[in-house]
Structure formats: structure tokens, C-alpha cells
Amino acid sequence: MPIQPPDLVLTPILPDLILAGVAMLILLVDAVRPSRGSAMAVVAFVGILAAAAVVVRQWLVPAADELTVLGGMIAVDRFALFFRLVILGCAALGVLLGAHYLDRTGEGRGEYYALLMFATAGMTLLASAADLIVVFLALEVLSLSLYVLAGFSWRRLASQEASLKYFLLGAFSSAFFLYGIALAYGATGTTSLGGIAEALTGPGVSTALALAAGALLLVGFSFKIAAVPFHMWTPDVYQGAPSPVTGFMAAGTKVAGFAALIRVTTVALGPVSWELLPALVAVSAVTMVVGSVLAIAQDDVKRMLAYSSIAHAGFVLVGVAAGNQEGVTGSMFYLVSYAAMILGAFAVVIVVSRTGEGRTSLRDYRGLARRSPVLGALLALFLLSLAGIPPTAGFIAKVLVFGAAVRAGLEGLVVVAVLASVVAAFFYIRLIVLAYMEDEETAERVPAEPAPGVALGVTAAVTLVLGVLPGLLLEPLQGAGVLRW
């Protein structure tokens, strides 16, 4: 049988190539001339900008009628482009916050930026993967980089511990995912998402096998997006990893993971979505409730945000479970809002910590609003948005996914979701109480910092603008929510 080599059109993966290329460049330069890394931050930033420019161009000038390129491995649709942009935004903020953080702790090394770029490349690839093999590859690229990044402050034991935990559980989840791919291939004879869907609608496919494959893939994704009951690693890793890594990971991994999850569930598993629905609903409900309830018991800000991030995975899953067009666009809107507010919240944590990982206990936030009114107001904005109070992006996001779920007939799930939101409001409000209403223990002001200041400005603007004028994002999303493969 003659082998047909696929047409090698590299433009669709140009952003990923740029990212990976810049990462390797940084590694090389850093090997020849080790530096503190600030120059590398600039290089990384330029790389991200270049990648973003390519993505924007691809958005404005849509590719021809091809659905997938590179032999059906890569999807070229606005869904992918949209998520790529969001991920690049997260990466840019990750670079910005990381440069500041590492400068303070004196841990600045070029590898940080190289690893971050590799992770970003994995994420952007994940967002446009149209084949389970590529999904797996992308997941591994991003995970391996993040395992190392989590342990970047290797002098700190907690950081090492975070790295090891993340690695062990992540490897475990990869095995699940791989097994799912194997079963999917066994059931349908293909690993292409479109091919699986086609096979599943056709005759002669073992539904049981396909469902087992779907379940295992779901488990693999659940690890990455930190959904209950596969969330155990999240609090320790989020707490132990350096704060900028945590912020980048909390935003980027979740966005990319959900992008792939949505594509796999709606495209490949679309024909069996009805059978998979109970599983999605159950995971979503449990994730929201467990995340919200356990967050109450935390007394460390990073741990609290970790549980909050778990709960938010559940909220996005509400939109995914809805399974309709509104659910997809709602989830996309939710992920942008979530990325902005969680990165913003971690930026506040970094500023309050000042150097390294100090001052992350809830006590350290007492009287913050009095000591630094602007920082206090920003913290309040992000927390209110996370709690879903208008006029913030978090509120509109919740309305969108809840609306989609109601339309899909999942009222019960939405009731669970709003009750979980009330529980969640409790701990967000508690932090605001500390910042605004408790008397400060120290009178020391938190100094303003330029780099986190930019990050805070950007994330706060997104959080507020999307809350007041959601149409700005929703209009372009209308076309992007349609998945091609």
C-alpha cells in the first residue's frame, strides 16, 4: 500500500512553531550565556506577541474550506483560534508576573521562560487538536513543562513536593487517557475525532467499548481541569508552586483542557453524548459542591483559590453538559472570564506576598484595603467576579452557562450550581471582610509594583468590561462556537 504523505502546510501551526522555536532559542542562549533571565523575558514576550499576531491574522483571514490540515491532525476553526488567543494572553501575563517574582526571589533563570513557552505551545496545540494522538501529545508537552515549573523554586520544599505530586498524579492520568485512546481506536478503528464520530453513527460499533473509551478520556481530562474526584493534587500543587506558575497553570491549563474536552465531547463523542450526559452532570455537580464547600475551610489564600478553581471547573462543565450551541459559547465566555479573574487574583497574591511565598495566609489580608486602597479594590473586584456578582464578567459567564443548561433541560443541575454559588460567595466575602472590615495588624503599606500592575490592569479591565459590555466578546463568539473538524 503506497503511503500518501500529507500535504505539509505549516501555516496553521505557525504559532505553535514560533512558541517552540523561541523556547529552544532561549534554552540555547541560556546554555551559552547563563543570565538572570530578564532579557529572556523580553524574548519570550516578543515570541508570544508574534504568535498572537499570526493567530489574529488567521482569524481575520479565515483559511479556505479545509476543515483540518496536516492529515486531519489539526483543526483550523475559530474555536481553536479563539482559545489560542486566550492561552497566549495567559502566557503573556505568566511571563510578566514570573519576571517580577523571580527577580524578587533571585531565582531568575532563562529556563523559566523556555518551559513556559513549551507549556504554552502544548496548550495552543491542545486547543486545535483534531486527533486523539495530537491531544495526547499536546497534553504531555504542556504537562511535562508544568511539572518542572511547579518545582521551579527547588530550594523550597513545598515547591518540590508540588512538582512531584503533580508529576505522579499527572502521569497516572496520562495512562488513563492513553487507555481511553486505545479503547476508542479499538471501537472505531480511528483516532481522528471526526472519524470517531462518523464511525459511532455507523453500524457495527460496540457502544459499550465507545462508552468505556469516553469515560476514560473524561477521567484524563478531569485530572487536567481539576474536576472532582480527580482534583486531589490541586490544592497542594497550587499552594506549593511559585505563585506566577500557579496563576498561569490555573488559567492556561484549564482553558486548554476545556478546549480539548469540549471538542472531544461534542465532536468525537457527539453520537454517544446522551449516554455520557449523566457522567458529565454528576462530575459537574460534585465538582461545584466539593470545591465550594472545601474552600470554606481553607486559611491560605492560594489553597482557597485552588478550591475556587476546582469549583469553577464544575461551573464550566455545566455549559459543557448542556451540550448545545449556547453551552459551547457560554463555556468559552466563562473560560475567558475565569482566566482573567484567577490570574488577577494571583497577581494580587504576588503583590501582597512581596517576595516569594510569604504572606499568603488569610490573616495577611487584614486591612489590606486600608493599607492599599487600589489593591484592595482590585482584590474585591476579582473576588466578586469569582463569586458571580454583577457587574462583573463572572456574573455574565454564569448567566450564559446556566441559561444554556436550562435550555437543555438541566434545571436540576442549575439549581445545584446556584446553591454552590451561594456557598462560594461565603468564602469570597470572608476575604473581602478581612481586607475591608478588619483592622490591620501592621500599618505597612503594600508598595505598588510596575509589572504586576500591568497584569492587574489588564485582568481587571477584562473582568469589568466583559461584565458591562459582554456583547464585545459574545458577538465574535457566535461564529467561533461552531466546531469544525
Binding site: I389, F395, G471, L474, Q478
Partner: protein
Amino acid sequence: MSGFPWLTATVFLPLVGAVVLLAAAPLPRRRPEAGGVSGDAPWRWVALIVSIATFLVSLGILTEFRAEPGFQLVEDLDWVGPLNIRYALGVDGISLFMVLLTTFLMPLAILASWRVERQVPYFMASLLALETAMLGAFVALDLLLFFVFFEGLLFPMYLVIGIWGSGRRVYAAVKFFLFTMAGSALLLVAILFLAFRAESTLGQLTFDLRDLVGIDLPAATARWLFLAFFVAFAVKVPLFPLHTWLPDAHTEAPTAGSVILAGVLLKIGAYGLIRFNLALFPGASEDFRGLVTTLAVIGIVYGAVVALIQSDIKRLVAYSSVSHLGFVVMGIFAGTIQGMSGGVIQMVNHGLSTGALFLVVGMLYDRTHTRDLGRLGGLAGRTPVLAGFFLVVALSSLGLPGLNGFVGEFLILLGTFDASRLPAVIGATGVILSAIYLLWAYQRSMHGELPSELTSTPDLSVREYAFMVPIVVAIVAIGVFPKPLLDRIEPAADRHVRLIAVEPASADTVRATGGG
């Protein structure tokens, strides 16, 4: 009709003021004397001027308003296109006076908090942001837009209580926040459910109240939706047994917070019951009328009895609110035009009277630094003007004929009596009890022996005159001549009553009884 967007201007003017204050707050500024009070004076003046300007703009709504049913001065713009959530504003006779009440009380509340010295710009900005949220809630015609304002007022109010309150302020603020948040959680689900349910009937997704009114729902569905809306608003009203956040919030809030809370915020609950529960689910409203009326009557008597035994005068006024709002809800659900009109006008009256009571209590506290009735007494001799204002306000609150409270209570009792006797009879005891606790509070604080530490208590300052005189003028004016209000309320009230009317409503009876 002029093209000027009166409603948008009224709603967002305070927010502009709040943003200006917040933006200017971190600016370095010259302090004439270090730590002196005058350093904060500009904040107060800016807030006062903005709130007075808002009131003046809102008078524009009044002049443009015609005494007709239906919504007027409608502004309708696309907000979230894909979901067809609209920026739709409009007033009818019911919301008109809620808007005016809000813009009227706000300058007075700001004047009353002239002595707040902690983080003044943030305090004033919170009050102004709160005003925008409340006004927006009263004029929003889109259910989700309403929800945005409804939830949006939580945070500023929470800050006002939690930062500038007294004693157990944090506890009270968190309780307020969580009660309201929990109450409104299901409201969002209900709104979404209703809109998607109506989509098939209407042919398009809409959250516009005007389209959703009159939609046909299965009885069971309507009942569930009614309950979801009802819980959200009953917490705000507050209706027994969801009232427990109110005494804490009222007691710990600063004077301005209490005035706004009692004067306007509680009205949003009652307003929501009329605007959404009655209008959207008339059938279910009839089904639940017995339950709601029972809760209202329990609230009337319970609030009054508990008010009787309070020694903290602020708590006493807070419980009197529970009792008076019970009247309002009873009137709204009576199903008669008198009950409805009385309920609406009583919402205005309660806002004025109880707002004024909290102002008086605030002045008492400023002078004596106690709210304990046992430690007050004999102040009428030292501060005759304060005592006079207290008496007028108390009489207004207990419904003395000639003052505003009488008109509303009378119409409500009349309207309820027409519909069902027992609630009216039991509810009437609330009138008697309110006379007892209010006059007793007056007597204990103003008559008797003057405690020695209060011998040098000063009487009203010019600033205090400035916020007491307008409110007392309004109290007397409505009491003597309520017709202008009733004329404008009636058409809208009539329209809502027709939805659940026990008997065909006749507008003439209202004129005859309430026209003075």
C-alpha cells in the same frame, strides 16, 4: 415626549459621582490642619451635590410622566445581543414614586452622615453606587437587567454596614449579604427558566417583562416560579420568617445606611412582588394569596410585639419596619385597588417615616452616644426641636390622620377588609401596637428625668434642620393632600389588580376615600 433619556440620566448620575470620588480619592491633597475634619469636606460636598442633582433630574421624570397605565419614558437598547438581554428602562405609577423616594432620601442620608470621618470618599462613593443600583432596580424592564441591579446593590450596602457600622457590624453585614444572596440565587434560575419556557410561545428568547407578562404557563410551573421569585423578594421585604437579618443590619448600620435600608432597599422587595410576582404569575399569586397574607399578618403582629420589648431604640425602629412592611404586603396581595394603591403609597410613606425615625435616632445617638432607652430621658426640655421632630415622625409612622401614614394604612385595611375580614382585623392590631411602642419610646427618651450626663445636650444644628425639614414637609404634604400621588399610582395599580382582582376594581372608591 422629549428624547432626553431621563431614566438613564437619573440612574447613572450617582454612579458617575461615585467613580469621580473613587478616582480622586487616592490623589494627594492639601490638608489644612493635619487630621482635621475639613480635609474631608470636599468629598461630602461632591456627594451632596451629585445626589441633589440626581434628585433634580428625577423631577424631570415626574414632569414628563402622564397619569396613565403602562410604562413611560421607555428606553430600549440592545445589551447582550445573542441572548436578547435588553437595556430596557421605563416607569409606571408604581416605580415613579419609588424612584422619587430614592432620589429624595439620598441627599438627606448624605447630610446625615456629615460626621462620618472614616474613609469619607469611599463611604460617599458606596452610597452613590448604591443609589444607582436601587434606581436601576426600580426602572429596569428586562428581568436580567433587573437582576443585575438587584444583585449589584448587595456589595455597596454590605460595605456601608460592614465598614462604617457599629458594634457587630461585620456579623450584620455578612448576614445581610448571605441572606440576600441565598434568596436571590433561585431567582436567577427562575428567570432563565421562565424565559426559555416562554421562548416557544413568543417565538424568540426575551427577558423583557412587557413581553413575558400574560404568558401562559402550566399551573404547577407557575407555582414553582412564583415561589422562587417570592423567596428572593420576601427576604428583602422582609417577610416573616425571613426577616432575621434586618434587625442586625439596621442596628449596626450607620445612620445613612439605616435610612437607605429602611427607606428604599426594603421597598425593592415589595416592588418586586408587585412587578414580577403579581404581573408574571397572577394565577399562582391567587393560589398563594392565603399563605402570603398569613405571613404578612404574622409579620405585622410579631414585628410590633417584638418592637414593644426592645430597649435599643434603633432595634425598636427596625422591628417596626417588619410590622409596617407586613401591612404593605397584605395590601398588595389583597386583590383590590384600594389595597394595591394603599400598599404602594404606604411604601412611600414608610420610606419617609421610617427614614425620618432613623434620622432622629441617629441624632439622638450623636448627642448621647447611647441607643438604650433606659439611659435616655427628659430630653424634651433640653432639645425641644428634636423632641418635636421625633413626635411628628412617630405620629406619622403610627398612622395619625393628617399625616402620611394614615392614608396608606387606611387604604390597605379598607382594601383587605373588602377581600377578607380576618387578616384586616388582626392586622389592625398592629396599628394599635405601633402607637404603643412608638409613643412609649418617645416618652422614655423625651420625658421623665434628664440623666445628669445629658444636661448639656445641644438642640438641632443648621445641618440637621436641613435634612429634617424636607422630610417632615413631605410627611405632612402627603398626609394632607395625597391626591397627586394617588392619581399617578392608580392607573398602574389598577392594571396590576385586574390580574388578580377579587371583584372588578373601581377607581372611584379610592378617590372618595383617599382623596382627602
